[in-house]
């Protein structure tokens, strides 16, 4: 075994190029960015990897997406910290692609640039009333309760109504439902942002509807999250038994998918398990299936505010390869509410000089190698430019999905290095880190290196300990930069 290891080490050092180090810049410090960095550092022993992020804080959605009451899911931060602390790796926060430094400049400073900046926008439903007040994207709501600096001013009104409607039944939808319905005493000891905790403590929301276009067999959530929301203390769960009827096409779908089978079983059990009516004052969670939103209804009393959703009943239609889509039936009904959270998917944001597929919402690529355009011409690649994570695959999957995504992208990179595809750039040394910091300094960008993040981390933990929370997040850029800069 020792001999095998030694052979592997030798192979790795020979796989690096010539006398100057391979300089890589990764844009985005979420799971995609860090798994890519880890893989590159391991595979290319001479490489120097810099990770930049537009926020002063690293870790992407692990910090700002994973729900506050899921602390174990955030344990992966320990692994990412070790990567950042590697001598050949540097983290630079508060550096935005586009405004702080352009893509072209990064390509001049580094041999390889990997874009892993995820998806910071939303799919739109595209129906009338979508810009009424009280209609928010779930992404913004999650940012708000997770203390993301760009989410702190959302200020959702949780006091004007007792009903919230969530469009979508994926894990983000379930997270949002759970945060709205969980006893706030349980949330008070998590790392939830304090402005959100205060708002939730004063919230009058007692009923939450999770609305899906299709049926329980097609629900996009996973078992852990569903089990958790069904298990909330003293919560009345309502699922229409007629919605649970399955067709042969449904059975076929479940036969091929363990996840969907187990989700359906959980929903079936929940439909018959509890009482048929809620007790007075009890909070309620309703699963609504086979309904798609037609338009958002405006309130008569409060102009410009949402008062409900006009829903169309749907039926399922097979479109081949075992998939079924929702088709409107022309029958409608209204669902009253004071707040709507759209949880129908994220979308990536394009940047200058970067090919972008607007329809799919991703950067066109083949196994992580960025294509020059959307034409689909597989031979025209952007030299030295790679992509990983949601920006590559679309906004689906779990943290671990990025592990495999990173492996694929780094395999493409390694292959390109070996075959000399990148020889024109790798032949020459690049300024890398020093060049980047010089330019940023000239532009008065306040870079937040990892050691400065560690100061923020320590301060958040300290503030948290005063309130029996694992941390108290600093939610404004100013506060974060102040603590980062202090000694």
């Amino acid at each position: 075994m020792a001999i095998f290891r030694a052979r592997r080490v030798l192979w790795r050092s020979f796989s690096t190029i010539s006398s100057h180090p391979l300089r890589v810049c990764i844009v985005g410090s979420g799971p995609a960015g860090f798994y890519t960095a880890e893989k590159i550092l391991k595979t290319h022993q001479g490489s120097q990897v810099d990770i930049i992020d537009r926020l002063p804080t690293p870790y992407g959605l692990v910090r700002s997406g994973v729900a506050p009451d899921h602390p174990e899911t955030k344990n992966v931060i320990n692994q990412f910290s070790r990567v950042a602390q590697n001598g050949r790796c540097s983290f630079f926060g508060n550096v935005a692609l586009g405004s702080s430094i352009s893509l072209v400049e990064l390509q001049e400073l580094y041999h390889v640039v990997v874009l892993a900046y995820g998806a910071e926008s939303d799919r739109v439903v595209g129906i009338p009333g979508e810009d009424l007040k009280g209609v928010h994207s779930a992404r913004e709501f999650v940012w708000w309760y997770n203390g993301h600096p760009d989410g702190r001013n959302l200020d959702p009104d949780l006091k004007n109504t007792d009903t919230a409607v969530i469009l979508g039944q994926g894990n983000v939808a379930l997270d949002v439902a759970r945060i709205l319905l969980r006893p706030t005493s349980e949330l008070a000891i998590t790392d939830i942002a304090s402005h959100a905790l205060t708002a939730l403590e004063q919230s009058s929301i007692r009923k939450v509807y999770l609305v899906g276009r299709r049926g329980p067999v097609q629900a996009a959530c996973t078992a852990k999250e569903l089990r958790e929301v069904l298990g909330i203390k003293d919560l009345y769960i309502h699922i229409k038994e007629t919605d649970l009827k399955i067709t042969p096409a449904d059975e076929e779908e479940m036969k091929n998918s363990r996840i969907h089978r187990r989700i359906y079983e959980l929903l079936s059990k929940a439909a018959t398990a509890g009482p048929s009516q809620p007790s007075s004052g009890q909070r309620e969670l309703h699963f609504v299936f086979f309904r798609q939103p037609d338009r958002f209804l405006e309130s008569y009393d409060k102009k410009g505010y949402v008062s409900g959703v006009h829903l169309e009943k749907t039926g399922l239609k097979g479109i081949g390869s075992g998939k079924q889509i929702a088709i409107g039936t022309g029958q409608f009904e209204n669902l009253s509410c004071g707040i709507v959270l759209k949880s129908i998917g994220y979308k990536s944001v394009p940047v200058d000089d970067l090919p972008f597929d607007n329809q799919k919402g991703v950067v066109p690529n083949v196994k992580g190698r960025v294509l020059s355009d959307n034409s689909g011409d597989p031979t025209s690649f952007e030299n030295g430019l790679y992509v990983c994570g949601w920006l590559k695959r679309g906004p689906t999957g779990i943290i671990a999905t990025n592990l495999y995504c990173a492996e694929e992208t780094v395999a493409s990179l390694s292959e390109d290095l070996e075959l000399g595809v990148l020889a024109s750039t790798t032949r020459l040394p690049k300024l890398g880190r020093d060049g980047l910091l010089q330019i940023l300094d000239n532009r008065n960008v306040r870079v937040v290196p990892f050691s400065a993040w560690e100061r923020i981390d320590k301060e958040e933990k300290r503030l948290g300990s005063l309130r029996n929370k694992p941390r108290e997040k600093l939610t404004s850029r100013e506060e974060l930069l102040k603590v980062a800069g202090s000694e």
Binding site: M1, F4, H70, E72, T73, N75, V76, N78, Q79, T222, A223, K224, R227, N256, S257, R258, I259, R262, I398, I399, A400, L403, Y404, E407, E408
Partner: protein, 234 residues
């Protein structure tokens, strides 16, 4: 000093056993050594150990009987190996585990009883991811038990583990989370394959290479050889 003591114990056991006798070790003479919080010592061990002391005796006799009956060389070798490994458990509180890496490389290690396979992999610098650090909040430590016989010896997964297995890539009938498999004497000789990190994993497998150790310890052919391993998509 500890090592020399253990060696002396080892030699004594070997001597006694080779004579076809049963070496009784009094508890008072061999006290527990706390090298780590795992069971690293001789006979203050788990109750199972006593059964194993007995089984060593049985196996030894079985071996002699078989020899005189002219049984196959393979069967004799298997029993001989089992005998060797059981001594490991008795004396050192460890079991033998073989990891098969993504590249098909076999890595045999010793795992103290009570340690999880995830921890054991990390202690031996074996590449097994563990994003949530063993808290049942991810599926990155997914391993495949190569042998159905061993898979059946494991306790059934709890709901929480099944929820995570739903999300594992390349799930099979004998998939488990490495953080939930805890070393115990009956798992001695278990083979665990680390799935290749490929989203389109094919049924052919990541290059399982049959080896002496794995084959001999399995009573039934591993599922992978039959080609009956099903893909559980998600």
């Amino acid at each position: 000093m500890l090592i020399s003591r253990l060696c002396r114990v080892g030699f004594r056991v070997a001597k006694e056993l080779s004579r076809g006798g049963y070496a009784y070790m009094s508890r008072s003479r061999y006290k527990q050594r706390h090298c780590s919080h795992y069971q690293w010592s001789t006979l203050e061990l788990l109750p199972e150990t006593r059964a194993f002391q007995g089984s060593i005796f049985q196996k030894h006799h079985g071996f002699s009987t078989l020899a005189s009956d002219g049984a196959s060389a393979g069967a004799m070798k298997r029993k001989e190996r089992k005998f060797f490994l059981n001594k490991n458990i008795v004396l050192f509180g460890r079991i033998s585990v073989t990891f098969v890496s993504k590249d098909g490389e076999e890595i045999p290690i010793q795992v103290p009883i009570g340690m999880s396979m995830l921890e054991a992999a990390h202690e031996n610098v074996i590449e097994l991811e563990g994003a949530c650090e063993g808290s049942l909040a991810c599926s990155t430590c997914h391993v495949r038990v190569m042998d159905m016989e061993y898979y059946n010896k494991l306790e059934d997964p709890v709901d929480e583990e099944n929820d995570m297995l739903d999300l594992a890539f390349g799930l099979t009938e004998t998939s488990r989370l490495g953080c939930q498999i805890v070393a115990s004497p009956e798992l001695d000789g278990i083979c665990l394959a680390i799935p290749a990190a490929s989203r389109n994993f094919s049924v052919d497998g990541p290059g399982y290479s049959p080896s002496f150790q794995c084959l001999f310890l399995s009573e039934t052919a591993p599922a992978i050889a039959d080609g009956t391993m099903k893909e559980f998509g998600g």
